[in-house]
C-alpha cells in the first residue's frame, strides 16, 4: 500500500462517517443532538475562551504523571516477578486479585486519601496502568529465549548488568506492546476520574457542559477531542516500535 492510500483511505471513510452523522441528525430533526459542524463550532468556542488548551494540558498532565509512575514501578516489578519464581509465587495471586478491580471502584478511596486534588486522578490512572504494565513485563520474561541469558552469563555478566543489558533489552518489544495497551487504558480512565474529582480537563468538560445548560455540542466536542488525542498517543507509542533496538521483536507482516 502506498503512502497516499494509507492516509486517504481512512480519511475518506471518516469523512463519509461525518456526512452520515450530519444527514442523520437533520433527518431525525433533533434539537439536542449536535451536527458535526456544531461540534466544530463548539471546539472553536472553547479555544476562544482559552479553555481548549487548558483542559487538554490538564488531562495530559495527569496521564503523564500517573502513567509515568506506573512505568517506573511496573516495568522493574514485572521483570523481577518474571525472573525470580519465588517472587512470582508470592505476589502473583495478590496482583491477580487487585488487577480486575476497576479504577472507578477506587474513586471513593482516592477522594478520601487525596481530596479533590490532582493527586486523586493521578492515583487512579496509576492504578489503571500499573497492572497491565507489570503483567506484560512479567510475561515478556517468561517468553524470553533462554539462549540470551546463557550467552550473557557466559560473558560473565552480574545480576544487575544481566537485567539492564539482556533481560530488559530482550523483553523491550513485548514491554512496549504492554505500554501501548496501558496508555490506552490510562487515557480511558483520566476522563472518568475527572468527571468526579477535579474542575479541569476533558472529562470535567463533558460533565460541566451537560450540567450547565445541556450544551451537547460541547459534550460531543469533549468526546471527539478525547478520541483524537487517544489516536495521537497511540501513534506516538507505535513510533517507538520502529527503533532498531526493538524492531526485531515484531513480525514483519504487521507493518
Amino acid at each position: 500500500m502506498n503512502r497516499a492510500t494509507r492516509i486517504l483511505l481512512p480519511l475518506g471513510v471518516a469523512l463519509l462517517g461525518l456526512v452520515a452523522w450530519h444527514c442523520g441528525v437533520r433527518l431525525v430533526g433533533s434539537d439536542l443532538f449536535p451536527t458535526p459542524l456544531e461540534v466544530a463550532q463548539g471546539i472553536i468556542e472553547l479555544a476562544q475562551a482559552g479553555l481548549l488548551l487548558k483542559y487538554i494540558v490538564a488531562s495530559l498532565f495527569r496521564v503523564t504523571w500517573g502513567f509515568g509512575l506506573a512505568v517506573l514501578i511496573g516495568v522493574p516489578l514485572g521483570l523481577v516477578l518474571g525472573w525470580y519464581s519465588y517472587f512470582y509465587t508470592a505476589l502473583n495471586p495478590i496482583l491477580q486479585i487487585l488487577r480486575p478491580i476497576s479504577p472507578i471502584a477506587w474513586i471513593p478511596l482516592a477522594i478520601l486519601w487525596f481530596g479533590v486534588t490532582d493527586a486523586a486522578p493521578i492515583f487512579l490512572i496509576f492504578l489503571a496502568s500499573v497492572f497491565p504494565i507489570t503483567v506484560a513485563s512479567c510475561a515478556a520474561v517468561h517468553n524470553m529465549q533462554p539462549v540470551y541469558v546463557r550467552a550473557a552469563r557466559n560473558f560473565g555478566l552480574g545480576t544487575l548488568a544481566l537485567f539492564r543489558q539482556v533481560i530488559f533489552r530482550a523483553c523491550l518489544p513485548q514491554i512496549l506492546t504492554g505500554l501501548r495497551i496501558a496508555l490506552g487504558i490510562a487515557w480511558l480512565v483520566v476522563v472518568a476520574a475527572e468527571m468526579i474529582a477535579v474542575n479541569s480537563g476533558l472529562g470535567y468538560l463533558i460533565i460541566d457542559a451537560r450540567n450547565a445548560g445541556k450544551r451537547y455540542d460541547l459534550v460531543v466536542a469533549g468526546m471527539v477531542l478525547i478520541g483524537l488525542i487517544g489516536l495521537g498517543l497511540d501513534y506516538l507509542v507505535r513510533q517507538l516500535e520502529t527503533f532498531d533496538e526493538v524492531r526485531w521483536g515484531y513480525a514483519s507482516n504487521a507493518r
Binding site: 557466559n154 526485531w248 521483536g249
Partner: protein, 209 residues
C-alpha cells in the same frame, strides 16, 4: 603430548523418563581427554547426547555422576574464558553487529575495543555490515557474528554446539572451510558437536569435521 585441557571422567547424565521410575541415560560413562590447540568434534545422530555433553562441559548443565575438569579445575558454571556458541544462535538481536562482537570486551579501553572488533569482523568476512542488525542478516552471517563475538573475547577454549545445524548445504560447506582457517589462525582449542548419521562418537582431530 601436553597435559589435557579438558578431561571428562566417567561422566553420566540421567534424565527422568515419562513414566515414573523410568530413567533415561543420555550419557553413559563418557571419557575423553582434549589437549590444547586441538580441534575436536563430537559427531552423532540427533538426540544422542552431543549437546548434553557439551552443555555439561560448558557449565550450563550439571552432570548426574562423574567429573569434568577444564584446565585442571572442576566445571562450576559458565566461565568467560570459555565461550559457548549456541545451536539456536545467541546473537543479541537488539545490538548491531559491531556491538554484538564487542559484547565481551566491556572492560577494554574504547580504542582497543574498536580495533579488536574490526579485526574479528574482518576475519569472519562481515566488513561493511558493522552497523547492521541481526534481523537484516542471513542465518550464516548471524552464525559468523556469534563466532566473531566468541573469538573477540579472547577465550582459552571455544565450544560450539552444532554451529551449522540451521544452515543450508552450500553455506555449511563454506562455514566449515572458514572455521578451519580461523582455527589455524587463532590456535585455540575448538570443541564442537556436529550432526551426522555415520558415527556415534568420535573424539580426535580436525579431519573428522
Amino acid at each position: 603430548m601436553s597435559a589435557p585441557v579438558i578431561s571428562v571422567r566417567n561422566l553420566w547424565m540421567t534424565f527422568p523418563g515419562k513414566r515414573s521410575g523410568e530413567q533415561i541415560h543420555v550419557l553413559e560413562n563418557v571419557n575423553a581427554d582434549i589437549t590444547p590447540g586441538e580441534f575436536v568434534c563430537i559427531v552423532g545422530p540427533s538426540g544422542c547426547g552431543k549437546s548434553t555433553l557439551l552443555n555439561i562441559i560448558g557449565g550450563f548443565l550439571t552432570q548426574t555422576r562423574g567429573e569434568v575438569l577444564v584446565e585442571n579445575a572442576p566445571v562450576d558454571g559458565p566461565d568467560r574464558r570459555r565461550i559457548f556458541v549456541f545451536q539456536e544462535n545467541g546473537v543479541f538481536p537488539w545490538l548491531s553487529v559491531e556491538d554484538n562482537i564487542g559484547f565481551g570486551l566491556r572492560d577494554l579501553p574504547p580504542d582497543e575495543r574498536t580495533a579488536t572488533v574490526a579485526h574479528y569482523t574482518e576475519m569472519v568476512g562481515l566488513s561493511g555490515f558493522e552497523k547492521s542488525y541481526p534481523r537484516e542478516l542471513s542465518g550464516g552471517m548471524r552464525q559468523r557474528v556469534e563466532i566473531a563475538r566468541a573469538l573477540a573475547a579472547d577465550p582459552d577454549i571455544i565450544y560450539m554446539d552444532e554451529p551449522f545445524g540451521a544452515l543450508d548445504f552450500i553455506t555449511r560447506l563454506k562455514m566449515r572451510a572458514d572455521l578451519v582457517r580461523i582455527w589455524q589462525a587463532e590456535k585455540k582449542p575448538f570443541f564442537l558437536s556436529h550432526m551426522t548419521s555415520k558415527r556415534l562418537f568420535s573424539s580426535p582431530t580436525g579431519s573428522s569435521l
